[in-house]
C-alpha cells in the first residue's frame, strides 16, 4: 500500500471513532473533546487532499475559537444526562435520511470514474493554494464574499443586541472619566490648628 493511502486510512479510522464518541459519550465534555479530535483529523485529511489553506483554517477557526467557546459553555452547564437521552431514538428517521444522502454522495465520489467524473491532475510543488483561493475570493467572487460578510455582521450585531440589554444592577467603570480625575475631585486639605491636649481628668 502506498504511504499516502495508509495515512488516509489511519486518519479516517480516527475520524470515525471520534465522531462515534461525540454521540455516544456519557459526559458532554468528553463529547466536545471528541468533536475537537474529529475536526483535527478532518483537517489532516484535507491536508492530504492538498487543500492546506482550508485545513489550517479549519484548525484555526473551529478548533481554536468555536470549540473553545463550546467547551466553555458545556463545562459550566450542569446537564442532566438521563433527561437529555430521553428522546434519543426519535431522531432515527432524520438520522437515516442523512445517512442515505451521505451514501449517495459517497457513491458519486467513489464511483466517479463510472459516472464520467475524473480526478484533477496533481499540482506542481510551488503552487500556493492560499494565494489562488485569495485571488478568486477577492476578484471573481468578491460580491458574494462581501454579501456573506455582511450577513455575518448582521447576525453578530443581532446576537449582541439580543443579549446585551441594559440592566439596572450592573456596575461599570468609565475609564475616560477615571483618567480625567483631578486631585481636587478626590481630596481636600483641611487646615487643623495645633492645640494643646486637654489635661487628663482626675479619676474620682
Amino acid at each position: 500500500m502506498e504511504f499516502k493511502s495508509l495515512v488516509f486510512y489511519v486518519f479516517s479510522g480516527i475520524l470515525l471513532l471520534a465522531s462515534l464518541r461525540v454521540i455516544t459519550a456519557r459526559n458532554p465534555v468528553h463529547s466536545a473533546l471528541a468533536l475537537v479530535l474529529a475536526f483535527f483529523t478532518a483537517a489532516g485529511l484535507w491536508l492530504l487532499l492538498e487543500a492546506e489553506f482550508l485545513a489550517i483554517t479549519l484548525v484555526l477557526v473551529y478548533i481554536g475559537a468555536v470549540m473553545v467557546l463550546f467547551l466553555f459553555v458545556v463545562m459550566m452547564l450542569d446537564i442532566n444526562l438521563t433527561e437529555l437521552r430521553k428522546g434519543f431514538w426519535n431522531y432515527l428517521p432524520a438520522g437515516l435520511l442523512v445517512a442515505g444522502l451521505m451514501i449517495i454522495e459517497m457513491v458519486m465520489v467513489l464511483g466517479g470514474a463510472d459516472l464520467g467524473l475524473t480526478e484533477p491532475p496533481p499540482l506542481p510543488a510551488d503552487y500556493s493554494n492560499t494565494k489562488e483561493l485569495g485571488r478568486l475570493l477577492y476578484t471573481v467572487y468578491v460580491y458574494p464574499f462581501e454579501l456573506a460578510a455582511v450577513v455575518l455582521l448582521v447576525a453578530m450585531i443581532a446576537a449582541i443586541a439580543l443579549t446585551h440589554r441594559k440592566r439596572g444592577d450592573t456596575k461599570r467603570l468609565n475609564p475616560a472619566e477615571q483618567v480625567k480625575v483631578k486631585r481636587a475631585d478626590r481630596i481636600y486639605m483641611v487646615n487643623i490648628k495645633s492645640q494643646k491636649p486637654e489635661a487628663p481628668k482626675e479619676d474620682e
Binding site: V29, L33, V36, E52, F53, I56, T57, V59, L60, I63, G64, A65, V68, L69, L71, F72, M75, M76, S128, N129, T130, L173, P175
Partner: protein, 342 residues
Amino acid sequence: MDAMLAPLAELLGPAWLPIWTLVKIMAIVAPLMISLAYLTYAERKIIGYMQVRIGPNRVGPLGLLQPIADGLKLLMKEIIIPSGANKALFILGPVLVLAPALAAWAVFPFTETLVLANINAGLLYIMAITSMGVYGVVIAGWASNSKYAFLGALRSSAQIVSYEIAMGFALVGVLMAAQSLNLIDIVKGQEGGFWHWYWLPLFPLFIVYLISGVAELNRAPFDVAEGESEIVAGFHVEYSGMAFAVFFLAEYANMILVAGLTSLLFLGGWLSPFPFLPDSIIWIGAKMSFVLFLFLWFRATFPRYRYDQIMRLGWKVFIPVTLVWIVVVGAAMQTPYGYLFH
C-alpha cells in the same frame, strides 16, 4: 552537507527520511529544552537584580546548576491525582499544553536554509497550532475538580480567545507588507538593515503583537489565570511533580516561541542590523534574547491588571488599533508611497 550524508542515506534506504527528520527534530528540541531551563535561571537572576536581591547562587558556581537541581527535584516528586479528578483528562491536560508549544517550532526558520519544514502557509500554521494550547489549560482546570483551577481555566481561555483576535490582525498587517505567508519570505521582505525591518512601518501592530503575546502567555502583568493572591495558582493548582513541570516547560517554550516570532516578523529575523556585518543565526538569537528580557522586565515592573481592564484593553483598544492600521497600510499601498510598507 547533503553530499556528505548521501552514503548513509543509501545504506538505510527508505528508513533514512524518518531517521534524518527525527535527528533534525532533536536538533531543535534539545537546545530549546536547555535554553528554557536557563531562561528560568535568567528570569530569577534578572528579577533578583531588579529588586536588589542576588537571586539563586547556591547550586554550582553563580547558581548555574539551579535549573538542573529544580528539574531533578520535580522529577523525584510524587504526582498526586485528586480523588474527584477525571484521571485521563487530568493527565492529558499538561500534554495538550506542551505538544502545540513544541509542534509550532516545525516551521520556524533559524536562517534562510535552517528550517525543518519550509511550508507556504507557515504563518497560518503557527497561528493554528498555538491556538490549540488553550485546550490543555481548559481541560486541566476542569479535570482537577477544584474551584480555583476551574476559575483559572475560565479566565485563561477567555483571555487567550480575546487576545488571539488582536494578534491575528497584527499578523494580517505583516502578511500584507510581505505579501506572503511563508516565514522565510517575510524575513526576506525586511532586507536592507535596521530601518527596513517591519517594526517601523508597522509600529502600532508591533506594539499590539508584543503586548498580546504577553497576554497569550498568561504572564505578568496579564497573569490573572494564575492569580496567586486570589485563586492560588489557577489552572495548575492541583498539579505536582513532573505534571506541574510540564506546564512550566510549556509556558517557557511558548515564551521563547513568541520572542522568536516577534524577531522574525518585526525585527528582521536573522538579518543583520548593519549593512557591513553578515546575516547570521547569532542575530536572531540576540533579538530573541532582547524580547525575552523585555518579558522579564515587564514582570518585574508592572502590577497585575484587573480582569475587566484586561478585557477592555484587548477588545476596545487593541482590536480597533489593528483594524485602523491595516486600513492605513492597505490604502498606502495604492499610493506612490506604498514602498514604505514593503
